[in-house]
Symmetry: none
Subunit: 219 residues, 4 copies
DNA sequence: GATGAATGAGCGTTCATTCAT
DNA sequence: GATGAATGAACGCTCATTCAT
């Protein structure tokens, strides 16, 4: 087998790559350590030597993918001075591009949310980080628009979650499109625009204190 | 073990209840038949006698929860003659109320999407059913608002997915809130209003042909 | 289901018929009580009420088939006054005819030989009974032929087992032929004649004290 | 458990030994993998690691025992130039000696015949191989004796089966004798002589066209 | 007399994990 | 440093068997 001497760091990256692929394809429980070791081209005890246990291996995957995703989005919004909507659009574009480029990584994050407290917490923390980013953009947008009506904290949190959920759902949908009809699949930019179209004016209205209200009570 | 005699139908319902709870908590793979049988207050062979296998048991759970969710949403939108936005709001309210009332059932549906073709198909069919409902409401809303510009089919599909993702994400968030701070958790109505605020004017604008466009290209 | 009231004796016969068929097809271990009860058209507890347990049910099958086989062979050799070879041939013919008529019963006896002491003993007892019959015929044949050299008891026993083994093997072979090429399958009479041809002159020579001996020692 | 390290080949042989013993004693279905693993002095997973499944384990046993039996008989008949009857006797002697030396192996082959197509086929192939050997000896014997009347193919097949059945039955009987009265049990040579006495002159007569015929029809 | 409802016990199989070399 | 050899624990599933009606 691969007897090639390699620095630990490289070997470890190979293991994580193999693990991410396996966890994405089969899920945490169904992916087997045998499979991962073989795909990484190393023996099983080495995997245990470097990564301790299946749980820690999964956690390492999750953390690496969380880092990569956050970095991508952050890089997208780094352009200070641009208007808030532009920055949000840049961030969404970066998100969708990352999602298309590393589907397995995103899938792992998705799966991690249903694999018990510690993993779910890691992903939740990421969501909070992203939501905070979005929130600050919204705040700047409010200032840009000259409106000062602040939204309740809880409402902002809800909106952020709605936006993140919408983005994730769209990402998954567009990946499915790319797999089934690659020629006509939407680009990251188009997907981002769709989402902006969907929500921006709603947010904008909210920030201006204009709300949708039911016209009549039913129950 | 407690061998109380019960008619088959009742026992089967108990088993499904226990199974939904177990699958929601641990996921399909990690939930064990032993655990489910014990939670249902019966012995394992009886579970197999009635529900054939773990796979069929999971499928039975999925189908039951799909039925319950669709029925709830349908009942919410049954009020003919009301304006489209009102109907959509009613449907969303029903959805969030159902989600709050049967969190395990909704979690099972969520998990089913990553457990292989047959389960994913069942949930996908449900999504299509709901999306169709929403789409028809949007069409009516467009007519109500006197705007006739039809959206491209692919764009509608994207919007539906975004809306569903946002709704699911909000449902989960609101459930989390209810668990961690029950006193101040948002009601189904409030959550539905948040989502309406988030997206309704965006949809309205789109239907009127007003689109958000990036003001300058970055990359 | 078959709610028809039937006398116990008849019900029991149905159960034994179903059990013989099942044991013949799948073997003792693999045949299931569910299957047998269903094939017999009764509920499982009734099978237990009448036949106590799987082991006793199997034993009942074995005993019934042993009785049937022995009765058939005895009936074949009942013709007193005929020459011994003729009687032996009659017995063999009756054996092969029975074997062809009740293949499942014979298969059960075959299987019983490898299912533990009590069953094997029952079949062994049958073999002894048949071997005794054969032995007496051989004795008569010796007297008919006017030769008085008695064979050692152990040798007679060996010859009887050889003959029984040969007969069983031929029966199985001819049943296989009947299944795969029914048109050209040998009749019971032909099979009996083949076996007589094969062994009669050897027995005859032995009874006359003529033996085959190795011409040179090898080891 | 005792975890003595051993090369795979050796461990595998131990497992096969234990499996042959277990399958011989209890049959394929009733023998348990737990029992086999324990008898082999290893844990169950190791048995699965090396031999894949119960079915493959049984198949491996069957193949090993088929090979050993065929090799023994072949070695017995290797003496070219000896007269055919002598060679046949040598082969039978080798067969009975093998049967006495490896009773479990032979029992496994016997049981394999009733355990479904693939196992039965393996044993059937062995029987064909042996029958071919015997047939060629008979042909040579016919030439040696100067008689040229060929037997019908089907008749030869029948005789071969009768001989094989007689040999198996004798082998089993002689093993039983050895178990119950070891001091006076017949040797392989004696048993082979008994079988030769039983059948050789019958075969000889047949080859000379002399047949036994019933003197009067009974039924 | 006959049965639907129920279970204890065990089996084949797999997997994460660790020694001994 | 890297691995072949080995295992404890658990899981999905089935079966013979028995109550309670």
């Amino acid at each position: 087998m691969g007897h090639k001497r390699m620095p630990r760091e490289v070997r470890e990256r190979h293991m994580l790559d193999a693990a991410v692929a396996a966890f994405a394809r089969h899920g945490y429980q169904a992916a087997s350590m045998d499979e991962i070791a073989e795909a990484a081209g190393v023996s099983k005890p080495l995997v245990y030597l470097y990564l301790k246990s299946k749980e820690e291996l999964f956690m390492a995957c999750v953390r690496r993918e969380v880092g990569a995703l956050v970095a991508a989005v952050r890089a997208g919004t780094r352009e200070r001075g641009a208007p808030a909507d532009q920055q949000l659009w840049n961030g969404l574009t970066a998100f969708f591009a990352h999602t298309a480029a590393r589907p397995d990584g995103v899938t792992v994050l998705h799966r991690a949310r249903t694999q018990g407290e510690p993993f779910a917490r890691e992903v939740a923390a990421m969501r909070v980080e992203v939501a905070t980013l979005v929130t600050s953009l919204l705040g700047q947008a409010a200032r840009d628009a000259g409106c000062d009506s602040a939204l309740a904290e809880r409402e902002v949190s809800g909106l952020a979650h709605a936006l993140v959920g919408a983005a994730e759902s769209l990402a998954e949908w567009s990946n499915t499109q790319a797999r089934t009809a690659p020629s006509s699949a939407p680009s990251a930019r188009e997907t981002a625009a769709t989402l902006m179209n969907f929500c921006w004016s709603g947010l904008h209205n909210l920030l201006n204190g204009e709300r949708w209200v039911p016209t009549s009570r039913v129950h």
